[in-house]
Symmetry: C2
Subunit: 218 residues, 2 copies
Amino acid sequence: MTEFTPTDRTKVRRKPDRGKYDWDTIYAILDQAFVCHVGFIADGMPIVVPTNYVRVGDKLFLHGSTASRLMKTLGSGAPFCLSVTLLDGIVFSPTATGHSVNYRSVVVMGKAEPIEDPAAKLAAMRDFVEYVLRGRWATVRPPTDQELKGTMVLAVPLVEASAKVRVGFAVDSDEEYASGAWTGVLPFKWTPGEPLRDPRGNQSVPVPENIQRYTRPQ
Amino acid sequence: MTEFTPTDRTKVRRKPDRGKYDWDTIYAILDQAFVCHVGFIADGMPIVVPTNYVRVGDKLFLHGSTASRLMKTLGSGAPFCLSVTLLDGIVFSPTATGHSVNYRSVVVMGKAEPIEDPAAKLAAMRDFVEYVLRGRWATVRPPTDQELKGTMVLAVPLVEASAKVRVGFAVDSDEEYASGAWTGVLPFKWTPGEPLRDPRGNQSVPVPENIQRYTRPQ
């Protein structure tokens, strides 16, 4: 099993049994999620911004307007912390403090590198669209030179990363379970609803099968 | 409509039309979500940690072990940035760069104050359990003195906060819509599944109605 080496910054210290460092676990969480929260320092203050990303091999790509503070800060080489969290369930315990949540989270520490080469940038933008929906890129108008110029794409090498995972039921002592409260886990999923057709779109185009039955890696 | 005053740190600069500052919008997002990402600075580096919270009136409560770095750092008065994001849908556009996501996010800048008074701390812990499930507190064993001592509860006054909201379809020009791609929005929801009974629990207790049909404010 190929693993990241835990560092001072990525080693899970609280509840260390929940720490995971292997690529399979970390990549699966990243591939299922859709939004990350990026923390950086601006004017001496911590700032957290939600944004999209795509994982390609051993790196993540971030993208955004060249005018965005997030892109400008990360593009200048500022250190950041990127966090992804999937909430899998609520854990109902017989005790107040035994309640918990099941989750899978990933933290990535790093620095980003702007992708300047137009072909590499275009390839990353295709990866973004294909991450949203496989096969979508071929059906839409590709970016113009001006759109490419206005977009910053950043590569984040996955070097310092760890996952933290909680699964299962409450962990109270057997005596606590003698109470009359129902105990268990209420699982949650991020599920797609019925596609809503854009009134400005071509009304005769059927909803593609992979949008009608949208899935992400579980 | 009661609003937060935008500050240098909370004013939405990119796509300012998406910025919302009224209490109703911000409180509704906070009340629906379950997990926030808290950014702070430790040893000069930005750190982002996911955690739970509960909103009570014009403040948030955070809680955790007194041994956790997040609690120790925030409890010492370090400035932080707290971000909550609800992903509402994927926006399919006729162009590659026109793809987007619908979301509702909130950012809170601030400093936290530890709650030392045992009665106030206990009340906040009740709020946490009731936030997970209304009526749950009365059915479970309350915290012991030792559990209370081992838990840090922080109050975060909601003073500097803003929301950013994207709704609706793609915004490409009419000419772009002439392409043959299906366009629209695929909505997403965070939905509960079937409750899983804890094998260590009392097997004769029926699943409570409000767990079987769990809802959060929409």
